[in-house]
Amino acid sequence: MQERLYDLIFICRPATPEEEVNKIVATLEHSAGEHGGKVDKVERWGTRRLAYRVSKHREGFYVYLVVRGTQSDMIKELERRLKVADPVIKYQTIRLDEELKRQAKLARHRERRAGRRPRKAAPTAPALPGAEQAAPAN
């Protein structure tokens, strides 16, 4: 299976001590490794205000991870761990690779079009006065 990329965000209770959070991140890294995956990036956004109440909390400590892996079990396991972890009040995993693929495709497409435009303007120039003006500008 092709490698997949995921965004994983989890929110801890605001009162969680730093070591607890580190411990959770470490277990996630460990179980990702067990399933042939890898945690690419760990970002601690710190305590932020939640947009709505989650388990009676108005604030939460956000942690953002980028995970890559080939086995779909990996995400299942990571989410199970987050569900079990006491300080975690919310988590979300989003698969990113397809969107990145789409993004790359669009960028490539645009590049190609930008490269083609001047060549295309030249032959149509006599027919369209508007194009004639555009051609020298390019």
Binding site: D7, I11, A51, Y52, K90, Q92, I94, L100, R102
Partner: protein, 132 residues
């Protein structure tokens, strides 16, 4: 706002009798439809070619800037759900997603935007509904 699609066809139907005036109307975008409101269809057909339509049109005319998709201008290929403050202008005060007709977003970007907003909501970056 729901009468906008209803109003557009009459404007086109009007075009043959008086080509100059309806064209000006077309430039002002969605302006004229609002004037007619619900009962608009019949009076408009009378007013279009004749004299009384002219002054009325002049009085109520207002310009609406042509809305351009903000994401297309900046060549955005991916709308990041993590940047909640970037999504904020596309959400009403109460947390509703603003329609395309208000923001001018193109259909493709609106689709991505909706997805991003929903993701942001799920992880409590944006509200589902503001509580009072």
């Amino acid at each position: 706002m729901p009468d906008q699609p209803k109003q557009d066809p009459p404007a086109e139907a009007e075009a043959p009798p008086a080509p100059a005036a309806p064209r000006a109307e077309g430039h002002s975008g969605g302006g004229p439809p609002r004037r007619e409101g619900g009962p608009g269809g019949v009076p408009r057909r009378e007013g279009g070619p004749g004299g009384p339509g002219g002054p009325r049109r002049g009085k109520r005319q207002f310009f609406r800037k042509k809305k351009v998709c903000r994401f297309c201008v900046e060549h955005v290929d991916f709308i990041d759900y993590k940047k909640a403050d970037m999504l904020q202008p596309f959400v009403q005060d109460r947390g509703k997603i603003l329609p395309r007709r208000m923001t001018g977003t193109c259909s493709r970007h609106q689709r991505w935007l909706g997805e991003a907003i929903k993701r942001a909501r799920n992880i409590a970056l944006l509200p589902f509904a503001t509580e009072l």
